[in-house]
């Protein structure tokens, strides 16, 4: 094993199609026009010395180390800023160049500490490398003069010296080692788009500064790590590298947090993870990362991880550690007993969007082949099930249409009900890059998300609608486009059903859908809405990105269809730069849906009533799959309360915390006789479990994740599972205990079975992924290397289907008792229910959930910033601290749901999407008032949780 080495070409690739040929050190090389001489040389295998250039940012030309000579031209231009041109003859190593370079290096070294042996970057320092490369042998200048290296000179304090900034939990900034190359500043601007860093001062006195003389933690910095990666010296260094040392081998793997699915190099020393570094060839992230994937992996070795299986007869008993065999046997016996007693359909399973495709496939196989029913569901139910329904109905495929690269070709981007800078940070960085280059932005969101106004970006239009009125707004956008004749008739005639279009056009044209007519309902200024519609229809390539703010509503599916209508009407489907793009919450939401996790669908979105599909599995598995849909999660809970559903196997999900109406979930779980939780930690759901099976992390197993762009990425095992078994092995052993004859020895065999049974995966294999890095499904005979962009020459379903989308007000209404609307969201440093991120240093950015409230509403209630407040709905009440802000309009309050003590879902109600039962998280009528501490429910809950987490210590004799 060795380190995965990536070549630094010095400057970014040129996208030009025109090629030029030149000669460098006697080698002929052909490169796209606009390529720097430095990059052209590297393509020819010649490494020009450099310090201030790196290929993740544009060249700046400040260090003067990369000089070259060009025949027929005077002087010694910098190769990083000089473009390659036809016929040039370039020399990279001449007497003159050598002398200049030595001089430059001498100056750098004379203001740099010489503690290389004990420096954390030893072996991975470009300054060290360059000193070697230019043949530096002595330094004529001493440290006596001005320097940044020593705290004191001649017994006096050295004003130029600055102490280390160790405020960030994951990396340090040591100004004494800085060579002021500005790579970090450019990385923060160009790659991350946060503009947190500047070079302060001029000439010799210049230094890097985070924000306005703040330390990193208090500055605008979002801890993405791009600057650390860009830094050529030890100035910005991961604390883990300082503690452990340099890595010796690495493997490419995929982030297990969000649906962007960033590729990383897991850099290791033995089985110890030294650091995660974003992988340049990763096609989702192109070398960028966010704080979660880059740094927040500490949970994998957190002391709270449970490593031994446990059982208990009653949930009021303490846990008892048992052997794996005993645990499997117990579950198998219980499940069989329950089925014998209450019927075959009395048990079920939940697959996880955090587990691999292979693991998910096995859980649904266990349910369908082992339990003999279709009672399998997944937590995508509570986030993106409307996407599946809506896009399948209109386009014919339950997935987004583009790859992430597509955004580089967009001219107008509409972001609806999503907060990419927090939820999908790496995509947000790529989007912001495009916006800084001139693309226009339309935001449709009740809250002023960061994207609306951030450095060098300002949304052309922000439609700040009232929560719950998405359908009215999107339909009204269509009204403007149709009535003003801005639709793309040619596209519609070619690709869609013209009669259906006409029916739809007549529907949206009716005056009640005009921006003026809906203003009272939505609170959106009609003129703003009209301008947004015109911009989207006429501004060039229009792309729509949307998130949970669209799906988690009573009309979630209707909104998805309204979005699809809009894209079809404006001809924005089937090429680069356009499309309908759901931003998926968890890393493998797409994959878990693809793998047949829904109770009505077999893998590949084929309905269980379809005999020919069932046949494929029946034959392979030697069973008879039921032809009726199974229960969805909320239905399982209802059935449990009714007494007909008694046992469940939950892999890697925490439904008690993530599902709405906590009390109802608790009642459902309590009514069951055997609840099996398979997870890393004793999560909230485990408080109601009878069996706990320890899970493994993404670092401990092989497999694949499928991200929001349908990209199948490899997850690679870099350490042995602390609990002994990867999750797929646990499911397999459980299946065996239930009498199934499974013999997978590696997840690649599970993928082979997926490919064999599922047409859109027919071409996928671990060999192909090894070769290609990743592929996007459909990947089969017609598209052997996958499909970056869908519906290119026509829709998957044939003709695109326009559907009438009538706005229906949610039944969740404000009134005298509950006059405010609560909407929920997430923040950057935490993930979902926070089980992982809360067990890392990311808590430094988000210690608690806060209630955002407008000053006007706060004042009416006598609430000051930071006060404890009680928030109540007709479901329940909880307490948290207030944050006064103008990001939300009067009448709207907002909170996140990352901390279990907040229990935001105690408040959310049981309303759900009409088509898929996806819960309506985004709208709850609430009242807010002053409070002096936790609610009764919180106190009771804490006590119950504490009780149920007791583990009985085993006697030595046992």
């Amino acid at each position: 094993m060795s380190l995965v080495n990536e070549i630094d070409y010095g400057t970014p690739a040129s996208l030009s199609g025109k090629m030029v040929t030149l000669t460098i050190d006697g080698n002929e090389v052909t490169v796209p026009e606009g390529t720097s001489l430095m990059r052209a040389a590297m393509e020819a295998g010649i490494q020009v010395p450099k310090l201030c250039a790196t290929d993740m940012v544009d060249a700046f030309g400040s260090c003067r180390l990369c000089l070259i000579e060009i025949e027929g031209r005077n002087g010694t231009p910098a190769s990083c800023t000089t473009p390659a041109m036809e016929g040039l003859v370039v020399h990279t190593q001449t007497k003159r160049l050598k002398d200049i370079r030595k001089g430059v290096m001498e100056l750098y070294i004379s203001d740099h500490p010489l503690d290389c042996l004990t420096c954390a970057a030893n072996g991975d320092c470009e300054l060290q490398d360059m000193a070697g490369a230019v043949g530096l042998r002595d330094v004529r200048y001493g440290y006596e003069g001005d320097n940044h290296v020593f705290a004191k000179s001649d017994g006096h304090a050295n004003d130029r010296w600055m102490p280390k900034d160790e405020s960030n939990p994951y990396f340090t900034y040591d100004p004494a080692k800085c060579i002021v190359c500005s790579r970090c500043v450019r990385a923060c601007e160009e790659v991350q788009g946060t503009f947190a860093l500047t070079i302060e001062g001029r000439g010799f006195s210049s230094r890097v500064s985070s924000g306005m003389h703040e330390n990193f933690l208090d500055s605008e910095c979002v801890s993405c790590g791009a600057c650390v990666q860009a830094c050529p010296t030890a100035t910005l260094t991961e604390k883990s590298v300082i503690q452990i040392g340099q890595p010796e081998h690495s493997k490419i793997t995929t982030c297990a947090y969000c649906g962007v699915g960033c590729s990383f190099k897991a850099e290791m020393r033995g089985e110890e993870l030294v650091r995660m570094v974003p992988y340049k060839d990763g096609k989702a992230n192109r070398g960028h990362s966010c704080v979660k994937g880059r740094f927040a992996y500490g949970y994998s070795t957190h002391k709270d991880r449970i490593l031994n299986p446990m059982i208990r007869e009653k949930i009021t008993d303490p846990w008892r550690e048992v052997s794996w065999d005993e645990a499997y046997k117990y579950v198998a016996n219980e499940f069989r007993r329950i089925q014998y007693q209450y019927g075959r359909n009395s048990i079920g399973g939940i697959t996880s969007s955090r587990c691999t495709n292979e693991e998910t496939f096995l859980v649904q196989k266990l349910v369908r082949a082992g339990f003999g029913n279709n009672n399998v569901d997944t937590c995508a139910r509570v986030c993106h099930s409307p996407t599946g329904y809506g896009l399948k109905t209109t386009f014919g495929t339950s997935a987004g249409t583009q790859d992430f690269d597509s955004v580089e070709h967009s001219d107008v981007v509409m972001v609806i009900g999503a907060n990419p800078t927090d939820g999908h940070p790496v995509f947000a960085s790529r989007l912001k890059k495009r916006l800084r280059k001139g693309a226009k932005l339309i935001v449709v969101d009740p809250r002023r998300i960061d994207l609306v106004r951030s450095p060098h970006i300002s949304a052309a239009q922000h439609l700040q609608l009232r929560p719950g009125t998405n359908v009215a707004v999107v339909t009204s956008l269509a009204h403007v486009i149709v009535t003003e004749g801005l639709f793309d008739e040619k596209f519609i005639r070619e690709r869609c059903d013209w009669d259906e279009f006409q029916d739809w056009a007549a529907f949206v044209s009716s005056p009640e859908h005009s921006p003026e007519a809906i203003e009272g309902l939505t609170g959106v200024n009609p003129q703003t809405l009209r301008e947004a519609a015109r911009l989207f229809a006429t501004g060039g390539n229009g792309a729509i990105y949307y998130g949970l703010g669209v799906t988690e509503h009573s009309q979630g599916s209707t909104t998805v269809m309204a979005i699809a209508n809009l894209a079809m009407a404006t001809g924005n489907i089937g090429r680069k730069g356009v499309g309908v793009n759901p931003l998926r919450g968890q890393n493998n939401v797409q994959g878990s849906c693809d793998m047949g996790s829904f109770p009505h669908e077999l893998p590949g979105y084929r309905h269980v009533s379809d005999e020919s599909t069932r046949d494929i599995f029946d034959r392979l598995w030697g069973v008879k799959i039921q032809d009726e849909p199974g229960l969805r999660i909320p239905n399982m809970l209802d059935a449990a309360v009714d007494g007909t559903f008694k046992g469940i196997y939950i892999q890697g999900e925490d439904i008690l915390q993530s599902d709405p109406d906590t009390k109802h979930v608790a009642a459902g779980l309590q009514a069951m006789e055997c609840v099996v939780v398979h997870d890393l930690f004793l999560n909230e759901t485990a408080n109601y479990a009878h069996v706990f099976l320890p899970g493994s992390t993404f670092l401990e197993k092989d497999g694949t994740f499928t991200n929001a762009e349908r990209r199948i990425n490899r997850v690679r095992k870099v350490m042995s599972p602390l609990n002994g078994y990867a999750d797929w092995e646990v499911t397999q052993n459980l299946a065996k205990a239930m009498g199934l004859n499974w013999n997978y020895t590696h997840p690649s065999q599970i993928m082979d079975e997926i490919a064999l049974t599922t047409p859109s995966f027919a071409g996928v294999s671990y060999d192909l992924l090894e070769k290609e890095g990743s592929v996007q499904w459909p990947c089969n005979e017609k598209a052997p290397l996958g499909t970056p962009i869908m519906h290119i020459n026509g829709f998957a379903r044939g003709k695109g289907k326009f559907i009438r989308t009538e706005y229906v007000a949610t039944d969740e209404r404000t009134g005298p008792r509950f006059p405010l609307l609560l909407t929920t969201g997430r923040i950057l440093s935490q993930y979902n229910v926070g089980a992982q991120t809360r067990r890392t240093d990311n808590v430094m950015w988000h210690e608690e959930d806060r209630l955002e409230i407008h000053a006007h509403d706060a004042e009416n209630r006598g609430i000051r910033d930071g006060d404890w407040v009680k928030i109540s709905s007709r479901s329940g009440e909880t307490t948290l601290r207030a944050l006064i802000t103008d990001r939300v309009s009067p009448g709207v309050v907002y909170t996140t749901f990352h901390h279990p003590t907040t229990q935001a879902n105690v408040i959310t109600t049981d309303f759900s999407d009409w088509a898929t039962n996806c819960p309506e998280y985004k709208v709850t009528a609430v009242q807010v008032g002053a409070s002096n501490g936790p609610s009764d429910w919180q106190v009771q809950y804490d006590e119950q949780a504490r009780q149920s987490r007791r583990i009985k210590i085993l006697d030595a004799a046992e």
Partner: protein
């Protein structure tokens, strides 16, 4: 500790069926009833459909007329296999 949001399963099913009907009310007339029936056949587990038929047998069951119209096309669950 129960609060007013906790409906019985039967109440929920009526609510869900009516929600589906509400969507199909806005669709072209000739597709509406078939749409409701197909949706329920597609997504409702037999237990839920059985309960729906039990509800249909009651007077003043609170169901949307479109659900009543769709009922003929909703599949009766067979005897639940054990």
């Amino acid at each position: 500790m129960d609060s007013e949001s906790h409906k019985t399963t039967a109440e929920k099913l009526v609510y869900m069926a009516n929600q589906i009907a509400t969507f199909f009310h806005s669709q072209p007339m000739d597709e509406a009833a078939a749409g409701v029936a197909e949706h329920i056949n597609h997504f409702w587990e037999p237990r839920m459909r059985q309960q729906l038929f039990d509800i249909l047998d009651q007077q003043n069951n609170g169901l949307d007329p479109l659900v009543l119209e769709a009922a003929k096309q909703i599949r009766k669950p067979g005897t639940v296999s054990v």
